[in-house]
């Protein structure tokens, strides 16, 4: 399937979802749906580095929060824009601020992407394990920095007051929901494009055997840096609208461990070898958690996620998608005419696209 068609299909799905929710008329659907969509982006982003390249990121919360706090920062500057006066520089500031949310998303992505690049540059020459630990370290360092930065609220937190209504969409949350749908399409399309391109092959070789990959001419460090940057940027983009969604941002919630756990659990449960896996994992686990938070405590909720993660990692390492593929392969093997199908990755039906 060509990419434009793929984007079109998902755009239609997204639009349909939006309209269905609108017809139901219940705001809750948009609020809960936003979170699930956000997790699709996070899970897909994590998987680009984790599933495709085999490098685990424990600090997804850090990248998410980078996006969120970029939003807080830009909002806070916008709030204080009158302090710059109306002449010269002040006029310029008034022109730029308040920054519209879509632009904030892009900026959040850039900030998080750069931090990802930097972290990668420092640690990706070492073994994957050190990278994983470094991502944990990064999240804590970032949180400490934010806690000590009173301009964005520090540990007291910051209040964000978005408009309650917006033209075309009505309630502001519906606007954010629509933005998140666009992000989901961006994330899924990027993941799928990567998978099917030369870049995707390169990532897979890094995961399978980095030493052999180098021997085959794959520039592993460069590819890992690309993966880290894209992954970080997507996570930052997912986090950027969050302050406008939730209204009050404090470090404990922005850097919450549940982001780190879910970003790992969703792709590992859904399946790490293709873009479908994180989507499946995020939709299932995300919806489950939205239901669970209202019925049982949030602690029990996280317990279930953790247990599922352990169970799948031990029993079904290729996730739900892997289980389905395995079942499909067994069926085809039993059919007399077919020889074995291709392996779980890389259906290269499109022409090889040259990528860096």
């Amino acid at each position: 399937m060509r990419t434009p068609l793929f984007v079109l299909i998902w755009a239609i799905v997204g639009l349909a979802l939006y309209l269905v929710f609108e017809i139901f008329g219940n705001d809750y659907l948009f609020f809960a749906g936003y979170i699930v969509l956000q997790y699709i982006v996070l899970a897909t982003a994590w998987n680009i580095l984790g599933g495709y390249c085999g490098y685990v990121n424990f600090g997804s919360a850090g990248f998410f929060a980078l996006g969120a706090y970029s939003g807080v920062f830009l909002y806070t500057v916008g709030q204080g824009v009158d302090d710059f006066g109306t002449e010269g520089f002040g006029a310029l500031m008034h022109l730029i601020f308040p920054v519209p949310v879509p632009i904030i998303i892009v900026i959040g992505g850039i900030v998080a992407g750069l931090v990802g690049l930097g972290t990668g540059y420092l640690t990706l020459r070492l073994r994957g394990v050190f990278f994983a630990i470094a991502t944990l370290a990064l999240a804590v360092v970032l949180e400490t920095l934010v806690v000590n930065w009173s301009y964005v609220g520090g540990s007291r937190g910051a209040y964000i007051i978005p408009p309650s209504e917006i033209p075309i969409f009505g309630p502001y949350v519906q606007f954010l929901f629509a933005l998140m749908i666009v992000l989901v399409i961006v994330a899924l399309t990027s993941a799928r494009l990567i998978e099917r391109s030369r870049l995707g092959y390169g990532f897979a070789t890094i995961r399978d055997d980095e030493l052999a990959a180098e021997a085959c001419g794959v520039p592993t460090l460069r590819l890992k840096l690309i993966a880290t940057t894209i992954s970080g940027a997507l996570m930052g983009m997912a986090g950027a609208p969050f302050p406008f969604y939730i209204g009050y941002v404090e470090p404990a919630s922005a850097f919450n461990l549940s982001y780190a756990v879910n970003a790992i659990a969703m792709p590992m449960i859904g399946g790490t070898t293709s873009w479908i896996g994180p989507l499946v994992g995020a939709v299932l686990l995300g919806s489950l958690q939205q239901l669970a938070t209202v019925t049982i405590s949030s602690a029990a909720n996280l317990l279930i996620v953790g247990l599922l993660l352990i169970a799948f990692v031990i029993v079904a390492p290729n996730g739900i998608v892997g289980l389905v593929q395995g079942w499909w392969r067994k069926r085809s093997a039993n059919t007399p005419t077919k020889t074995s199908t291709t392996s779980s990755a890389k259906p290269s039906t499109t022409s090889g696209e040259a990528k860096p």
């Binding site: 390169g202 030493l211 180098e214 794959v218 090889g352």
Partner: protein, 261 residues
């Protein structure tokens, strides 16, 4: 056979004027307190067939790793095709025309057999020539390379479904796919039957005829003697012999190294 092999030959031709294709001078490598390589020196001429032998633990694999960039030697210089390799990482050396197969096969296990061959084609051959290969060209090249090692029927199989012997052949094919000027075949014949060994030897001879310089690391003396124009012997990280195969195997020091003191 095809453009695959002739490209390697045309690449080898222009530089065939000057000097050895590989110069190893004073190469040394330690692991903690253990000296794996101790000032190794030898040259390899263009188009030559060199056999590298030595008892287990003599440093052969470490030497290969240092030549190819998987490890960086601490002392001395590796010069390939007139260029110093110090500081260059493995993939850069592969792009310059150095390829190796691994002693224990290291296939990309999540991909099909054909896809394993695709990787060096996409990342070395395409990069080197500056234009990317279309899907059809890639498939053709893959197919030819698989034919070279009689694996053309198993292109779409998963690597896990191959036998050990087939995995070794895939390993070799993957190295050849990078269209190298110099190929290091690291124990590619371990575990093969008599006729399979013959097959690999004649394959390597064929490749050599097309202009690819080959260093063969082996324990199967029959193959080494048949294949090599020159024999180099490594013992405890030092080179102890370097010359005509017949002469080297009768060298008392070599005999002592293999049979023990």
């Amino acid at each position: 056979m095809s453009d695959v092999m002739s490209t390697a030959a045309t690449q080898a031709a222009p530089q065939s004027a000057s000097g050895p294709i590989l110069q190893i001078s004073g190469v040394g490598k330690r692991f903690g307190g253990f000296v794996a390589l101790d000032g190794v020196n030898f040259d390899v001429a263009r188009g030559e067939r060199v056999g590298l032998i030595g008892p287990n633990g003599s440093g052969k694999s470490t030497l290969v790793n240092c030549i190819c960039g998987t490890l960086q030697n601490e002392t001395g210089t590796v010069t390939f095709d007139g260029k110093a390799m110090n500081g260059l990482v493995a993939h850069q050396r592969t792009h310059l025309g150095l390829a190796r197969s691994f002693q224990l096969p290291r296939p990309f296990s999540s991909m099909s057999v054909a896809d394993n061959i695709r990787v060096p084609l996409m990342y070395t051959v395409a990069t080197r020539s500056g234009h990317h290969l279309s899907h059809a060209e890639l498939s053709d090249h893959c197919h030819e390379l698989l034919k070279l090692v009689s694996l053309e029927a198993k292109g779409s199989h998963r690597v896990q479904d191959l036998t050990q012997v087939e995995q070794r052949k895939l390993e070799l094919a993957r190295a050849v796919a990078a269209e190298p000027k110099l190929l290091i075949a690291d124990e590619s014949m371990a575990g093969l039957s008599h006729s399979e060994v013959e097959d690999i030897v004649s394959l390597l001879l064929q490749l050599n005829e097309r202009g690819i310089t080959i260093i063969m690391i082996e324990h199967i003396m029959r193959a080494v003697m048949k294949f090599s124009q020159r024999l180099v012997v490594l013992v405890s990280g030092k080179k102890v012999a370097d010359g005509e195969p017949e002469a080297v195997v009768q060298d008392p020091e070599v005999v002592r190294a293999y049979l023990g003191q």
